[in-house]
Point group: C2
Chain length 223, copies 2
DNA sequence: ACATCACTATATCGGAGCGATATATCGCCA
DNA sequence: TGGCGATATATCGCTCCGATATAGTGATGT
């Protein structure tokens, strides 16, 4: 689900491949470290399917880098980074399209394509602010059900298998404990989300901004 | 590193592809669930490189299934399983070769091919009984260094990045905590291994079987 | 008697991702 | 001037996965 990560970053601002990879590494590094051998084909796929749109930005060397006309740069947004005026060869700057927005929401809610593993969940949760509260809770519940299922399977396999040596056993025990902790963590998050959803559904108390808490149409001030 | 898992299972007894996959799923299911689309090409690679040797075993239907002459079956070994006399179509039974034994040890000790991730370590630890005590400790220490490195990187990334929302932050916090627990677990294992190695190096007290604790040349009674 | 189902068993296909590598350009510094 | 490191895009070979094809087998059902 590299597409999801790419669309999630392009949703905030247009970016070219090299910068995308840096952000993938730095911001989502834990869950989506990616190589160019994956990124460029993924961008080509997204472009072919019409989810993103690329414009060629030639180097300007002098003055301002606003060469990318079509909302190309959103200048002085991440100027804290060292790449302030480093403009070198021509770049392909990708923007997300309407269709891409739709694809992003589909991938994020996970209604299609049940390819769920550890990283897939972590990536979705990173973009949880783009989900409705209800969908957020569904995501957490799905993940929890997965982990519980895995617990059952591991315990069953370990019980029916008496030929485990001490090394395998230590591995199984540690994995079981870790999974239980993950489930507890999910429970905590689910509680917090339910409280938030509950508070949002009665606007008479604490009435301010009960509606704009990550409604899917809310984009722009993504922080 | 599917090869490592396959060789580790074939080290115990010759198996055909379908049974290999079952054991990969049941015994090492947590860390190496594998599909036929991976397994059969991997077996073909191992066969091409001379690490395993395949013999065609045709069905016999009547009497004993000892058709696979060359140490083919090791009859009545896992008869507790339901596939006792289920002999159907012809199978390709794979055995590990001398070269395969060497390859297994190389992959297991990890001197070549530093492709270390979560599952890679878990898989190696599953076969830790085939390592010398010294190599076991090295494996644990390498894994620990990896996790510590990741902790540092994640903290640095999170500190330099002020645009993390609460969802990403909860993810980072949970991952940090989990990693710390993993490190503690590794510390525990390292301590235990060092005590065992220490005890094994002075055979004058508790002298029984200090030498046969998983020496690399000890094969045969692999359980 | 025959159909159907579930299991055993091997194999291949397309696609995704990775690591390595190739090819440029640019700024900097010795 | 020449090398080095960062920026930037792209491709190659490989591994792995999920899906699918093919086929033999025993049990179950009608």
């Amino acid at each position: 689900m590299l597409e999801l990560a790419v669309l999630g970053l392009l949703k905030e601002e247009p970016l070219h491949g090299y910068e995308l990879r840096k952000r993938l590494r730095d911001y989502l590094g834990l869950f989506a470290s990616v190589s160019f051998g994956s990124l460029y084909p993924a961008l080509a796929r997204l472009e072919a399917s019409g989810a993103v749109h690329a414009i060629e930005v030639h180097r300007s060397t002098a003055g301002y880098p606003m060469t990318g006309s079509l909302s190309g740069e959103r200048t002085a947004f991440h100027r804290s980074r060292a790449d302030a005026n480093r403009r070198s060869r021509s770049r392909r700057v990708y923007s997300i399209t309407e269709h891409g927005q739709q694809l992003f929401e589909d991938l994020l809610s996970g209604t299609s394509n049940e390819n769920d593993d550890e990283r897939s969940f972590a990536l979705r949760w990173t973009f949880a602010r783009h989900l409705r509260p209800q969908a957020r809770i569904r995501l957490l519940e799905r993940r929890k059900a997965q982990l519980r299922q895995r617990l059952v399977e591991v315990n069953a396999a370990a019980a029916s298998n008496d030929s485990l040596d001490s090394y395998s056993m230590s591995l199984v025990e540690h994995a079981t404990e870790s999974t239980k902790r993950d489930i507890s963590w999910l429970d905590k998050l689910i509680d917090a989300e339910q409280i938030a959803a509950h508070a949002a559904s009665r606007p008479q108390e604490g009435a301010r901004s009960a509606r704009d808490v990550a409604h899917p149409k809310q984009h722009g001030n993504a922080r």
